[in-house]
């Protein structure tokens, strides 16, 4: 079995301006490790959307990234309000973001659809009132 690099991050929930920092760090690491640009882009986009969701909806959370030569596994966990209707949340254009969030250019209802589009495996485990766990896998091999 391939060697796995494990990374752990805490995403702050109160600071919009710092959203994306974790994704940037992981992107940099993957570039340094020599992953293909297409793989790095997929990870960066999927992670950024997850990170933004955590900031907008869940007051932050944690992100664990396991990197091996075969795949990148990202687990994003929060203690937010949960997603009452996952099917609806997966529809492009559906958003529950507030107006001030929309003014910043977010809340287009593309978060989860983008994550699905750019990941090879996506699993959501969510409980209303307790939080959401999102597991994403992106294959690194062609």
């Amino acid at each position: 079995m391939a060697e796995v690099m494990k990374l752990h991050y805490v995403v702050s929930g109160d600071d919009f301006t710092r959203a994306g920092e974790t994704s940037s760090k992981v992107k940099k690491t993957l570039n340094q490790l020599g992953f293909r640009p297409e793989v790095v882009r997929k990870v960066a986009i999927a992670m950024y959307e997850g990170e933004i969701n955590m900031v907008i909806h869940a007051d932050g959370g944690t992100i664990d990234v396991d990197i091996s030569s075969d795949e990148i596994v990202i687990v994003m966990q929060d203690k937010g309000p949960g997603i009452p209707d996952v099917e609806k949340a997966m529809q492009e254009g559906f958003s529950t973001a507030s107006n001030n969030v929309r003014e910043l250019g977010f809340g287009a209802g593309m978060g989860l659809p983008n994550i699905k589009k750019y990941s090879d495996v996506m699993e959501i485990d969510t409980q209303v009132g307790k939080g959401t766990k999102l597991r994403i896998v992106i294959y690194a091999k062609e």
């Binding site: 959307e49 910043l104 250019g105």
Partner: protein
């Protein structure tokens, strides 16, 4: 065409981006102000035209691997955006022209 040549040909204001990083090639364009859409539509090495000026545009362009951001209609990026762009080596350019007029010029240049 490089970002540098593009900036000269379109008479764009260069807010951030060292001369060396502006040697990057541009090969396409996306126009939009919704960050999630831009995130998915801005292709590698393409120029992203927007009127958003907040710091999150830097993360989007950097993560999507765009060549540069062009801010249209004379909007001016926030100081925090410029600071972040310098840190992340993201090129921000600006123009008084509308997104449509900028895109027309890009098309005329074969982008």
């Amino acid at each position: 065409m490089t970002v540098s040549e593009l900036a000269t040909r379109l008479d764009l204001k260069v807010y951030t981006g060292e001369q060396s990083t502006r040697e990057r090639c541009v090969s396409g364009c996306y126009i939009g102000d919704l960050l999630s859409l831009a995130m998915s539509k801005v292709q590698m090495d393409s120029a992203w035209i927007t009127i958003q000026t907040n710091m999150n545009i830097v993360a989007v362009s950097s993560l999507a691997d765009g060549a540069c951001i062009i801010i249209a209609d004379g909007f001016v990026p926030d100081d925090s955006t410029l600071e972040k762009a310098k840190e992340q080596e993201v090129i921000i350019l600006g123009s008084e022209l509308s997104a449509y007029d900028i895109a027309k010029k890009l098309a005329e240049l074969g982008i």
